[in-house]
Chain length 628, copies 2
């Protein structure tokens, strides 16, 4: 079994420079109809063939007159004009021809009878006349080259008498999905099989940029199969993308194939996710090997494939729109690689706040949820909470401004809120939420914190952490925490004492979460030693993740809310009712976004939708407790 | 002949409010394939059907092990593992099944022989394993409703086992071009005929927004014809746009047609351009009458039609991206109307600068060139030079940052520069350029100013207006000013003395332009009284506009450069060679954009292209004179 050592670790910019130095891209031109040219890119400057307007025309509805003849008209000494001698009626756009050389607006005419009009002031020559070429003079440049055509450009081109223009040909981009474990359809997804989603992401990214995607069928991991597909793709396309198999594992053939039939310029870049990238050239054409994880594949497309496609289209890579933001969580990074973190963004007290999302290369939802990308350069160990970082925007700032930012405990009901208003919700546990709110990095913090001394929820924590501040606790939901167990509760788990049993594996929540606080409280109360619980060290960050662990039998039990158990058709042994509330600064109650949030909590639609999840109560939902 | 009084003048926001209050838009849903869903808008939240990954899988290439068995391995006391008993080889993505519960990276394995591996540290349970649902847990929300689908969303949906989703139907938008003077093809453009360009602008705007445009054939200005077309369009579409005929002229039937078969909610809005707008409802469907001038029609689409289309798509109107900018020219506005000015934008000394473009509703080139729109509210008389204004951006700021900003005299060669680099060039004459540069509102000012005392070009003006500043004069082109006359010079014009002749009509340039300075200098030198020149009062702002006036016989002669005369196949009587140079602050020579500009001036390509225009010399082109 041949296992190669790991590949290179070339700096990203260096890799791009080297690759473009070796690549010779000569964009091709084609002639197309102006009417079909939206979003195409001019390959030559376009010069007007016709003037617009192409004749002198009335700019107003009114009468065409001979300006000389109107000289001297005043309010006290009006001039009388006779139809077809001194004037004719004219509408906007009608030609103005000799002897007429001016237009008077109908509003300024005193109509005496059908044939007679009086005017009270003179018309100057060419008054209210659009002269030939007022808009476009024939031979003038309408569009420069390398210009992406918008709807107004099409209007201007047509007005300038242009019927056809030269544009850059759309590059044809072959997409070769590889991997014996990859399947095409959702019905084929069984253990060991993964559905091909990357190809469709690429297909649509290529379309968005203005290329023509050519998705091939899935290639199994065999050297000769991949070689044959690559050779065929190179013949028929301008760019070839091979997805997965780009690393150096036993089944990774892409690099050897390219090495045999062309040149591997770069294999392995100092970028995470995205390290096992191949930049190759076969028969003069770019061929890029892209790693298989969805986040890696998206980022490698963005960093390496996009500039290649744009070059074929005669366009430069867009400058990224960058904004400064304050980090709400610490991020650590290896010194060896540039690391790209997905973040959500929000405006809190006019400050742009960036909250890092899950960092795994396999978590495509981190891209779905991301508002921006934050790069941690090589030789930087990471960033701390409250550090200011540069964020590449994936969404315009004015959209980001509209979102309510929630950081704290997780409950499935937050998805329902997110469907009903613009909400950015991050799950870091109740204590994490309290600390974020103290740093003024969110508008509100969902919390459910049990005071071990009083058995009361939330309020004592607010007094402790926001001493002297006027706070508002928006009452949320009553819900039940309990043991999420396999259907039928086969291990008969009924108390925390059962968790230390030899046959039980537990799925734990992360430190700082309200659920963890509850667990540790119950363990202490019952004198159970956490170290004896199998799985206590393994932490999950949402109720759903705990339920999923039980569902897939990597644990037998976890602590969580009823709705998560119900969602995955598991069983539930109730332990303790609790109060899931939303903490904010009292002054925030004035914000439109908070008002909208409270409206939603109180709405019938919200209650009905949450009720359907199961296990919730709405005793004081939407009520406000002021805590000073 | 029935001529109605002018229509209403309703506030724009009031008009929108009233219209939407009366309009009942109920977006329709349809089920489509996820793979075809790019840019569609979800009509319901989408919940995952499958977890992703759907089985526990290796996150790394390496070996699958039993974590219990690895406990205690250290560098001094390695553990030995046997193939198929204690470990199996595994690649990223392969399932990890019982009894194996952890993965060790291949890099951390010491391969003793084919069947034996040594490890130096223990593996913790689920190390390097992607657990079921790590990315997406079945039943979790993947996308909220009213979400416009991007390529990554498609990847996430497919990963979550979703094959079809509910989206809002694309609204069908009928486009009815009306006007007896409107023709479809460029070959039909003769005097009195105008090519239909607006329909194609609408068609592509509708496409961009996500609607389905249905362009009809051109309707002549007849009441019954228009009525029949509207009725048919209302049957087959969700939205109907009638272009032109929306005012109250003799041939404007749209409002009466709507009034007969439906309801006119608004006729006439306090917006310029765009006043004669009709907001109507026929059989419950929105029908909008749009004025005919290209700028009016674009703005009315943007302000009134876009929000209607977006409502059908379940989307809110985008919040405009607004930036503060400093005006370089005074703009005046009527108190009665909100006025929308097109501006170009540029960054000079880190300040965003807005230069108003031509304001005519007929000048579509003002939209092609615009980087932003500036609204002058009602009851505001206009803005002054150096006022700070809000600009709605039509282009992202990071693109605007890259442009060189030139304000000053016009020469056709500036188009060539604009085709070779990112240039924003505005033509306000040489003196206007000098004043802009003094206010630091441009990077450079093209000038050709004759010192009447010395006969020298430019330098004395620089000393006078930039006394004490270190300036750089980048030498541009030698060119020839002269009389642009009809082919064959039938009126035999050879000197400024000829301009006062009874049979001569002159096309003048605007005050402050170098060409006007030259004319006035020559008139004074020859004792010619400008008041005696017919057309002296009528001002054009470019050489091409002057040439066009001669071409279309609205003048017999104008003063301008040879290239303009040649472009329109006119004749030319040379008067005076002159120097067309570029003035900038000496410190600006350090800017990349200025360096690129000088490179272009010196390039062979630039010289060849300018040479082809005719009448230019390149004696010192690109040389720099420092003036202190």
């Amino acid at each position: 079994m041949s296992r190669k050592a790991y590949i290179d670790n070339i700096d990203v910019n260096l890799a791009i420079d080297e690759y473009f130095k070796k690549l010779e891209i000569n964009p091709k031109e084609e002639l197309i109809k102006v009417k079909d040219s939206l979003n195409r890119v001019t390959s030559r400057a376009v010069y007007a063939k016709l003037s617009s307007p192409s004749y002198n025309s009335a700019a107003m509805d009114g009468i065409a007159v001979i300006s000389d003849y109107t000289t001297g008209a005043t309010e006290s000494e009006p001039k009388t004009l006779k139809l077809n001698e001194d004037f004719i009626y004219i509408n906007t756009g009608n030609p103005v021809k000799e002897p007429f050389d001016a237009v008077i607006m109908i509003e300024d005419c005193i109509i005496k009878d059908e044939d007679t009009i009086e005017i009270l002031s003179p018309a100057y020559p060419y008054q209210h006349i659009r002269q030939i070429g007022e808009d476009i003079v024939a031979t003038e440049m309408i569009l420069p080259s390398r210009h992406k055509i918008r709807p107004v450009d099409i209007g201007a081109l047509i007005s300038g008498g242009i019927d056809e223009i030269s544009v850059y040909e759309k590059p044809k981009v072959a997409l070769i999905p590889t991997g014996s474990e990859i399947v095409e359809n959702v019905e084929e997804v069984v253990e060991g099989k993964i559905i091909d989603s990357n190809s469709y992401v690429f297909e649509n990214l290529v379309l968005e940029l203005g290329g023509i995607p050519n998705k091939g069928s899935i290639a199994v991991d065999e050297y000769e199969t991949i070689k044959a597909m690559v050779l065929e793709a190179v013949e028929k396309n301008d760019i070839v993308l091979v997805n997965a198999g780009s690393s150096a594992g036993t089944m990774d053939y892409t690099v050897d194939v390219i090495d045999e039939i062309g040149e591997v310029v770069v294999h392995g870049v100092a970028m995470k996710p995205g390290k096992p990238t191949i930049l190759g050239i076969v028969k003069g054409k770019p061929i890029i090997g892209i790693p298989g994880y969805p986040v890696s594949s998206y980022l490698v497309f963005d960093v390496f494939v996009k500039p290649v496609i744009l070059k074929f289209l005669g366009l430069e890579d867009d400058k990224d729109e960058i904004a400064k933001a304050t980090l709400t969580k610490r991020v650590v990074s290896s010194l060896k690689n540039e690391e790209i973190i997905r973040v959500t963004l929000g405006f809190v007290d006019d400050k742009l706040i960036a909250t890092p999302l899950q960092s795994g290369a396999g978590v495509i939802m981190s891209l779905v949820k991301a508002d921006g990308l934050c790069k941690i350069p090589r030789n930087v160990e990471g960033y701390d909470v409250s550090d200011t970082v540069d964020v590449k925007l994936l969404r315009p700032l004015n959209q980001i401004k509209e979102s309510l930012v929630s950081i704290g405990s997780h409950d499935i009901c937050m998805d329902i809120v997110a469907d009903m208003m613009k909400l950015k919700s991050t799950h870091v546990g109740s204590m994490g939420g309290i600390l974020s709110l103290r740093r003024r990095e969110c508008h509100l913090a969902p919390i459910h914190l049990l005071d071990a001394d009083t058995g009361e929820y939330n309020i004592s924590y607010v007094r402790k952490y926001f001493n002297g501040e006027k706070m508002a606790l928006i009452k949320g939901l009553n819900r039940i925490q309990g043991f999420i167990v396999e259907k039928g509760n086969p291990l008969n788990i009924q108390s925390v004492n059962d968790l230390v049993r030899e046959d039980v594996v537990f799925a734990n929540r992360q430190r700082g979460s309200g659920t963890r606080v509850l667990l540790d409280y119950e363990l202490a109360k019952n004198d159970v030693n956490p170290e004896k619980i199998k799985g206590y060290q393994r932490e999950f960050s949402t109720h759903m993740a705990v339920a999923a662990a039980v569902k897939n039998k990597s644990a037998n039990v976890g602590l969580g809310v009823y709705s998560a158990s119900k969602a995955l058709d598991l069983d539930f042994y109730p332990l303790k009712p609790e109060e899931y509330d939303f903490l904010t600064y009292a002054k925030n109650l004035e914000l439109d976004r908070i008002k909208e949030f409270i409206e939603i909590l109180k709405s019938e639609e919200f209650k009905n939708r949450v009720d359907a999840l199961g296990g919730y109560g709405f005793e004081n939902t939407g009520e406000i407790i002021i805590i000073e």
